[in-house]
Symmetry: D2
């Protein structure tokens, strides 16, 4: 398969729709992003990253960061992480507090906000917020093979200022005794983690460990064990799009995690990691063009974890 | 891979645990089944079905039947089915009515009981209950290539007598105007569908369409389109075990659907359909030994939709 | 106080608004009632019943019947009734099933539908549905001192035909083992009880036991103990209007129970029982004009259980 | 009636049970209170306050303060207060966040914690927290005719330190845009208001406006209009004990508001205000001995807003 051509054709087929959907508006820094931007990057075991459009423009990865935070929290905490966060779809929106009350402060999974806050707390562990953030950045730069991965401090400050709902969730967790660190420390890392600025290319490269059993097949760097990579893929498929995960699994057919900044990171086991980005969101808060692009790539490549066709090598 | 050996070794590794778990006790017919029975059957594109243990003993397939009902309802109704039933995980137990009230009588997915009742109603369509049941039986016999598939009328009668919760769900749906047929007609089909008696071998054979894009690769008989087969696989993976689907996706790694009779039907895309059966259930209502057997087979074969290892052919 | 004049003035002040609000439309028999009818009847210890407007026109009392059913179920069952039905406001609409699931089939109070169904079941006890209905009618005729109290069998039939939600609630209760009698038997009494046809005059007279500690001060007939009369008054105040009880307590200031047929029965402890009727309902399902009339009477008489002014005798 | 004797007899009848129930333990300052203390104070229009036991020992009034905050917020804000807080029973525990999410951040009533936080915010209005607290203290000292009313700053500090759940509720409200002031400002007043230290005598005296239409009949000082006093009484009866309000209305028969410090303030319209205190709580978080004392007083006096017996003057 000519993957560069598939990426190009997908981009071109959708280019006319650039600007559709509604960008997130809850913080000025996101609102100001040019909504007509649209990038695709696909990384495979073969080395080159197949890119199209604005694949080198950094954007706010937001909830996509939860995937990396999960991998790193599992590394620090091991299976004990599952004592404080579940692994089941929630059946509720990403910022819901309903289930959290009924289930005594144990969030359903690491991808809803409450679960991500607990995950970040465990990633911090007994370190200071600054040390934890430095560690996160260092790991992402290593995986992306790019020192350009940064945190957008303007976005982080805005997130903190407008973060009443996340603050409410965090204090709720604290009330149930689920946090090791003070709420404001956890949030200071959480808001910065969500404010990571990365391009599609950086994102696709840094996530190559997901479709390849935990080890980047190009650099040989290991992020996690094969079993953990499979676990994260499973969680992405089942819970990566909150209340819209079924629809996504349906239309795309492989694991993905969306962010409100318009990015989506997808993992095609044994094949590729794909990052797409376009700021306009659909009703479920997922990039409208991004989801279409992944669906289109799935069609063109025939990649689907649910398909009976044996993939060509 | 020597699949017969894998099936045998899996069976033997777990044989000592036969009788563990708690069989369903809500109707006498299920309670009387010998809890030490344990069968495995794996069907592949190659023709022979690899069996072990009680693979030829018929058992009550219960909720496993929802998979077939879904395929057949989609055939009759097309995408309009999705107007009355959703495709998202529910985050609630199989018989919960909570979400149904909040979401105006549209069940979350076709595998929770309310969703299965709606699905059965659409499968009946404008036919009589008897015609619908005959159609269902004929289709299953065709797919299983075995005229021995029957309905256990004793189980069906017990289901109807003790079915207050399902009756409540059905009247709830009727109150929201979601049913085409009278409640008692729908239930009479639903209870009989759940009372289908099939062996692991019959089940595995009749479900070969799932891992192979809708068409049984041995008989060449088509049950549904490739796209619908992928959809059903996706729903099985995301919602096939109710509130325990995440855990199952985690441990087994491919789509499955469990029944309270102790059967589990699994679909390994491109590889095999597998039916396991042992009456003792775990807390989530899934066969304890059955889930272990599938997990064991996944380990021995390396089959997982989340794994990066390219499967050997 | 000249109570006849107060009743007349209240009626006249609101007469122009006859026909406002929306009559219940879920069954033909209710839809056909002339929406411009408006009656008031007030019964006191002094004997005469002060009436205005359509006070002698029988109407479908619907949920007002739950008050009598409660008194009679308490008589048969004693405090054991409280094992199967609670005494707290529900915070949910009258026909909600949400709380019922979370609270294992014990309805919050006897005035939401599920609670009323349980109450009716206990009132039936070990008798046949026909014997129970005959008993109910006999008691109401005795209390109303009027043999004209009847059941509108046309309404009862319609209720049963359209009663999917109540049927769903009843089967839900049955599933939790909360009913002594078969669901259809309980519903056959419940639907007939709701279909009692009574005039404001009959209703006010038959409820004189409520404001006077259980015994009708005119006839001397005892319906229940003083303590039970106080209990029923308390439940009416706290739960008599479902999710609108706070608003009613606020605006009217004494216990009341509304029905979807447009009737409201109020009890002013130590003073009077008042029945008002007008078919048009407000958003909360309470008679629009009826609630205004009671609020007006409260203002004109100064009657309020929350007021510090000692009532003149 | 010899009210002093009734108060004395009630105290004596229960004295043996002092120390029963479980004192609140979530902050050290409450845990350290001697659990065997038990006081009663009853204030009437006649001037003297009838006291028994530890009626002059100040205790932390906690949620009882919500009654005063409501009166003062209504004074500042008028009926516009009801745009941001409801007047219906919640059907949920005092600190539940469930309903708040479903109802878009409008708390059910001013007595659940979320509703009290909104009420305090409106009481603060455009003033600084310090000015608001000074105002609250001045008003309570005026109503209690006692300059000894103070805030226990040790309790206030502990409340703030352990107040994660209230902080979560407040940020949740802020997220829905329901607060005028910064969360920490609102909480600083809220925690101090809950930490008011008052004796039964002070509490009974300062609440005399409730049973007497808004104006203290002894001092002649007006706290609010007759209509508002009735409203507050209604809210106390319907919502004063959270999920246990029905039970309290049942057993006691007049409006009351409990606090986790073991105090209960009751209002008997036209008769008296009564404050009782004993630290041990029942399961519902209401003073065990306090509730018994009020029930006992109700029995001895015959006072009940649901009784048909005309009170003697």
């Amino acid at each position: 398969m000519d993957l560069q051509r598939i990426v190009d054709e997908t981009w071109e087929a959708l280019a006319d729709q650039r600007g559709s959907g509604t960008p997130a508006r809850y913080i000025p820094a996101l609102e100001l992003v040019d909504p007509r931007q649209f990038g695709i990057a696909m990384a495979t075991r073969d080395g080159p990253v197949y890119c199209a459009g604005d694949a080198d423009v950094p954007f706010s990865i937001q909830s996509v960061s939860k995937v990396f935070a999960l991998a790193l929290a599992l590394e620090r905490e091991g299976p004990a992480l599952w004592d404080v966060v579940g692994r089941e779809p929630s059946g509720n929106p990403f910022n819901s507090i309903l289930q959290l009350e009924r289930e005594k402060g144990v969030p359903r999974n690491p991808f809803i906000n409450a679960g991500a806050i607990v995950t970040t707390d465990r990633f911090i562990g007994d370190r200071s917020p600054e040390v934890a953030i430095d560690d996160l950045l260092a790991r992402l730069r290593l995986m992306a093979r790019d020192e350009g991965v940064t945190i957008d401090t303007e976005v982080a400050r805005s997130e903190s200022q407008t973060g009443s709902r996340n603050r409410s969730l965090a204090y709720f967790l604290a009330d149930f005794g689920r946090l090791l660190n003070p709420v404001e420390d956890v949030l200071s890392v959480y808001f910065r983690q969500c404010s990571l600025a990365m391009s599609c290319r950086q994102l696709a490269e840094s996530a190559l460990f997901l479709p390849f059993d935990g080890t980047d097949p190009v650099s040989g760097v290991t992020m996690c064990s094969p079993s953990r990579a499979r676990r994260i893929n499973a969680l992405m498929l089942l819970c990566g799009h909150y209340d819209n995960s079924g629809q996504f699994a349906f239309e795309v057919g492989f694991p993905g995690k969306s962010g409100v900044g318009g990015g989506i990171l997808a993992s095609v086991p044994g094949r590729a990691s794909i990052a797409v980005w376009s700021p306009g969101l659909n009703r479920a808060g997922t990039s409208l063009l991004g989801a279409k692009a992944l669906s289109d790539i799935a069609l063109r490549t025939g990649w689907s974890v649910f398909s009976g066709k044996l993939p060509e090598i």
